[in-house]
Structure formats: C-alpha cells, structure tokens
C-alpha cells in the first residue's frame, strides 16, 4: 500500500523531485550569501553572487512546478475531489513560493544596483522564508501528511 503511494510514472516524478532538490540548493545558497553580506554591506561581489544564485533558481523552480502539475492532472481523480493535506501544502508553497522568488529577484536586482543594505536584508528574510516553506512542503509531500 505504502509502496503504491510512492509509485508514479518515472519522468514527471523524477523531474519534479530533481527540480525541488536543486531549488532548495539554490535558495540555500542565497540564504548563506545574504547572511554573510549582512555584516559586509560593502562587498559588491556578494550582491552579484546573490543575484546570480537567485537566477539559477528559476529553471529549477519551473521544473518543480510544471511536473507537479503534470502529476496532479494525472492523479487528481484518485483524490475524488478532496485533496489530501500534502497536496494542499504543495500547492500553496509552490504558488506562493514562486511569487516570493520573483519578488526576491526584483529586490536582489535593486540591492545590486542601489547598494542599499536594507535591500539585502529583505532578500535575506524572504529567501529564509522561502527555504522554510520549501522544507515544510518537502516533509509534507515525502511523509504524505493527511493521507
């Protein structure tokens, strides 16, 4: 029963999981860079590195989101109109998370151009929030909470 719960067509699941894992890696990099930059606001290379790391997260996030949708459209009938908790958490995280990612990229660009420390600190807080949301979603989906 449990093995069946975790058994799905290969490609959508593989690409979704790979996208999720690499997104977490890219956002983790941003978190590390921004907290280091918190005490070194003069380091221009940290601002550039943060912006570049955030840009690498975009294709990873698209992979995560697109193949989540592919799997959901294949399997939604099995939920009989009542999605389990882990699906709901995944949806909220991926939709809200993408919005947070785009806002964070905009702020990181502003930080890179303006050199204002406050922009870097907002990027640090938002990327930390995104990392926490992704971690909760990962635990919910791998533990199949509510099913």
């Amino acid at each position: 029963m449990i093995v069946a719960d975790y058994s799905r067509p290969f490609w959508p699941l593989f690409l979704h999981v790979l996208g999720a894992m690499t997104t977490v890696g890219a956002i983790l990099t941003v978190v590390v860079l921004t907290y280091v930059a918190w005490n070194r606001p003069d380091a221009a290379f940290l601002r550039r590195a943060t912006f570049a790391a955030l840009l690498t997260a975009i294709p990873f996030y698209v992979l995560l989101r697109v193949f989540a949708e592919v799997m959901y459209s294949d399997e939604k009938d099995a939920f009989a109109g009542s999605d389990p908790t882990w699906v709901g958490i995944g949806y909220i995280t991926s939709d809200a998370g993408f919005l947070i990612l785009l806002i964070t990229i905009g702020l990181a660009y502003w930080w890179k151009r303006s050199e204002k420390p406050v922009a870097g600190r907002i990027v640090a807080v938002l990327s930390t929030l995104l990392l926490l949301m992704l971690t909760v979603a990962m635990l919910a989906m791998s533990g199949k909470w509510g099913s």
Partner: protein, 157 residues
C-alpha cells in the same frame, strides 16, 4: 504516520540534504570560478564549507534510512536496483570527496594571492578552471543524479 512512512520521509529528507547541499556547493564553486579577484574566489570557496554538514548528513542519512527501508519493505538481499544505487552512492561520495580536496587546494592558493596584492595569477585561474577537477565534479553530480534515477525508477521491481 506509521514506521515505514517515517522512514521514507527521513530517507527522502536525507536525499534532499545531499542534493541540495551539493547544488549549493556547485553554485558557490561556479561563482568562485567567475570571480575577478583571488579574495573573492577564496571567500566563496570558504562558504562551500557551510554546505558540507548538509552533504554529510545526506550521505549518512540516505544510507542509514535506505538500508532500514530495505529491511522494512522486505526487498530481497539480491535486489539489483538497490545494489546499483549503492554503487553510484559510493561513486558519488568518492568523487565528491576528491573534488572537495581540489577546491581546498585552490582556496589555499587564492588566500595566498589575496594576501599578496589580490591580483589573479595565471596559476590560480588555471586551477579554478582545471578541466580534470571540473570533470570530477560533473561526474560526482551525474553519479548523484543516477542514484535519484534508480531510486525513483526502481528498474526490475
């Protein structure tokens, strides 16, 4: 959640730590390669150390919870895809370790050059872009992805 679900969650969480930590290390390494100054390259390569506990937790966690699940789910000792995953897991760990040692050597040279005028020498540039080291890092990444492919595909099961 029953015991098996807990084990699966912990096994997958460990795999996340391994791949996410490796991705963070790869991004920081790529940023260091593109640095203009030795001090910047050294600083970014030093930050890779932050990802190491995550990678080590992932390496140990995937093995520990993977073997526990092997027993818990009743797969036989001769299950080929599990052995294949273990071979790639060992290969990824060995290649990752070798790549990490090269990065430490590069960081030491970068720190030395940063202290001596902070201008990028040909030696450091060559070490940062060493094709052999890059090939080892790429091979470690491919081996890690191969483990993921095998665990999701479960060929023959």
């Amino acid at each position: 959640m029953d015991k098996t679900q807990w084990l699966l969650m912990l096994h997958i969480a460990a795999a996340f730590c391994l791949v996410a930590g490796s991705t963070a290390a790869a991004i920081l390494n790529a940023l260091a390669i593109r640095s203009d100054k030795p001090s910047e390259a050294a600083f970014l390569m030093k930050l890779i150390r932050v990802a190491l506990p995550l990678i080590f937790a992932g390496v140990l966690g995937t093995l520990l919870f993977g073997i526990w699940l092997w027993h818990d789910l009743g797969f036989g000792f001769g299950t080929g895809w599990i052995w294949a995953a273990l071979v790639f897991w060992a290969l990824a760990s060995a290649l990752g370790g070798r790549g990490g040692r090269h990065q430490e050597q590069v960081r030491a040279v970068a720190e030395r050059e940063a202290a001596a005028g902070d201008s990028m020498s040909g030696e450091l540039r060559a070490m940062l872009r060493d094709p052999k080291a890059l090939a080892v890092n790429y091979a470690a990444g491919v081996a890690t992805i191969a483990v993921l492919v095998i665990m999701i595909w479960k060929p023959g099961s």
